[in-house]
């Protein structure tokens, strides 16, 4: 099966994925029937605000939920044709850090504070690529140079606290690349960083993606990161997909009322000085309660009575060049008329 994979088939195929988390008091469903795919060499951005389920959706199938969280998953997550949900811990350990690299939001908490940086990265290459200690150390020096860390040989001897935030994130990226992944999952890779460093990291990821021909799934709440590096974007709200399409289609001509409202909420350097800020009314729903209709309906300008009763299906947007779906029949009708 594995050999049959070429550029046309998906590297990652997520179908009808739902994740339920159980706590002592209640159950919440942060991911509700989500499907998407990532081809080799593609950059997919998953955008949403806090609590939209974007991180859980990516971490749960890899077995990366915090210890003690009781989760239940349904649907399928196929990586190179193999379902990760039914894979055992052994297989997951082999994929994680190997064919799938992960960049964590907070680089400091992803690094062991009492071990030297070089050793921490080398360990991954040894395990996943079967390198000897010597080979692995050479590889680490190359990786640190690749992510733009000056003087890699002496950096390898340092501890995480000796580095600045930007350098730590570069180390985090080097670490995610140590197993030569085909797919990189980057969870808010720039959130803890300043704008100038953020620009450097986005440039670096774009450059690495081209050079190593990796696919990237970048999880973010920042449309700046999306427009800077993604080909495709999935917008999530309350655990569901609200819109999925090419980055140009979605960012330049958003269809779903949530996407539209969210994009308008981002202040830009072109906004009128002294003008009122634009936001969305209300707040996101409580995910421990069952939502029958559209979860965005209470905050939506276009909502009809029926929106609160039936879950809106993901429908294709007519007249769009690239594949594009939107979970809002109401605006889809008016959008079709406008085109």
């Amino acid at each position: 099966m594995k050999d049959m994979h070429d550029m046309n088939t998906s590297l990652l195929e997520v179908a009808n994925l739902s994740v339920t988390l159980h706590t002592a008091k209640t159950s919440v469903q942060p991911v509700d029937n989500v499907s998407y795919s990532v081809k080799a060499g593609e950059v997919l951005a998953i955008v949403g605000e806090s609590g939209s389920g974007k991180t859980i959706m990516n971490m749960a199938p890899l077995g990366l939920l915090p210890a003690g969280v009781d989760s239940e998953m349904s649907g399928s997550v196929r990586f190179e044709g193999q379902d990760l949900l039914s894979a055992g811990n052994g297989k997951l350990r082999q994929v994680r850090g190997g064919e799938i690299g992960v960049i964590f939001q907070d680089p400091l908490s992803a690094l062991n504070p009492v071990r030297r940086i070089g050793r921490q990265i080398a360990e991954i290459s040894e395990r996943h690529l079967g390198l000897t200690t010597k080979q692995a150390e050479k590889k680490v020096a190359e990786l640190l140079a690749l992510v733009g860390l000056p003087d890699p040989l002496s950096r390898m001897q340092q501890f995480p606290h000796e580095l600045s935030g930007g350098m730590r994130q570069r180390v985090g990226i080097a670490m995610s690349l140590a197993g030569e992944p085909k797919l990189l999952i980057a969870d808010e890779p720039t959130t803890a960083l300043d704008v100038t460093v953020q620009a450097q990291i986005v440039e670096l990821l774009k450059d690495l993606q081209k050079r190593l021909r990796m696919a990237i799934v970048v999880i973010t709440h920042d449309f700046g990161v999306v427009s800077g590096m993604a080909n495709k974007v999935a917008v999530m709200y309350a655990g569901r997909l609200s819109e999925l399409g090419s980055v140009d289609d979605v960012l330049l001509d958003p269809v779903h009322p949530y996407t539209r409202g969210l994009l308008k909420s981002v202040p830009s350097l072109d906004s009128e000085i002294g003008s009122e800020f634009i936001g969305l009314p209300g707040h996101p729903p409580d995910l421990s309660r069952r939502i029958d209709g559209c979860p965005f309906a209470p905050r939506c300008f276009a909502a009809l009575e029926s929106c609160r009763e039936h879950r809106p299906p993901l429908l294709p947007v007519p007249h769009s060049a690239a594949a594009r779906v939107v979970a809002c029949p109401v605006v889809l009708n008016s959008h079709a008329e406008a085109v």
């Binding site: 605000e49 350098m167 906004s271």
Partner: protein
Amino acid sequence: MTDPLLNIVDLKTYFRDTRTGQNIKACDGISLDINEGEIVGLVGESGCGKSTLGRTLVGLEDASGGEIRYGGENLLTMHGRKLHTTRRKIQYVFQDPLSSLSGRMTIGQAIEEALIINGERNAAARRARVVELLEAVSLPDQIAERYPREMSGGQRQRACIARSLAADPKVLICDEPVSSLDVSIRAQVMNLFLKLRDEFGLACLLIAHDLAIVRQAASRVYVMYLGRIMEEGESRALYGNPAHPYTQALLSAVPSTNPVEERDRQRILLKGDVPSPINPPSGCRFRGRCPIAQPVCETPPPTIAVDQFHVAACHFPGKLALAG
């Protein structure tokens, strides 16, 4: 011109590194004015000293030198009761509303506590004032019965602002007031600052790293780097015609939500990291990372008027040209 409400002159805040005994110069000679009813922005990257400056203004850090003049009088030489009553006029809003509110107090109790500290002895008057303050921040009065965990992030930050208003301040020092909030609810809090300025003439120092938010809200802005002001002036002029290479680099790094623009934009990518504030570079502090630094930059930069409305502390203001 009337005198500024808050007039900060050559303010220095140094911390002592206990290991080496050296001074960490977090704020190193900052002069800054805030006029009555004015929103002033203070931008810069982490570690530039902008939060230390804000904390020094409200007495959370001790100043090592300079003056903080409120209504013409220097707070740093004031004592006792007078200092106490003057300080109340300058209130602070923290970045994270959840950690600055007690989880065991309702919002009403938290605001009442602030009113008691400010000398309101009459319980009925306090309760009436709580309702007024909640109304001022556009929260319904039932919120008084709620605990912080029962509220959304935007509501919590507005409740914190209501509590700050209990002291009847003239200036709010807001350190990253919306950075912990989701994009779609930031407007609730930002519009509140505009409203408080328009309705109560409340001035505000808006400390933030988000350049677009500051530009939209503030009429004047200061750009800070490694303990010093690099460029200052009216937002329209400074953002429209940034002259200091650091300001230019900062602005060129702000991403756009337009993917087509993003693809062919030119960025000034800064090399290296911010140097240590223990031993900052002589002369211009930015020179080690500046793309157009010359030997003369080792001498203190002059403050040059870029145009009628803004100045830059740079030997070569406006000389960094963006390729393309």
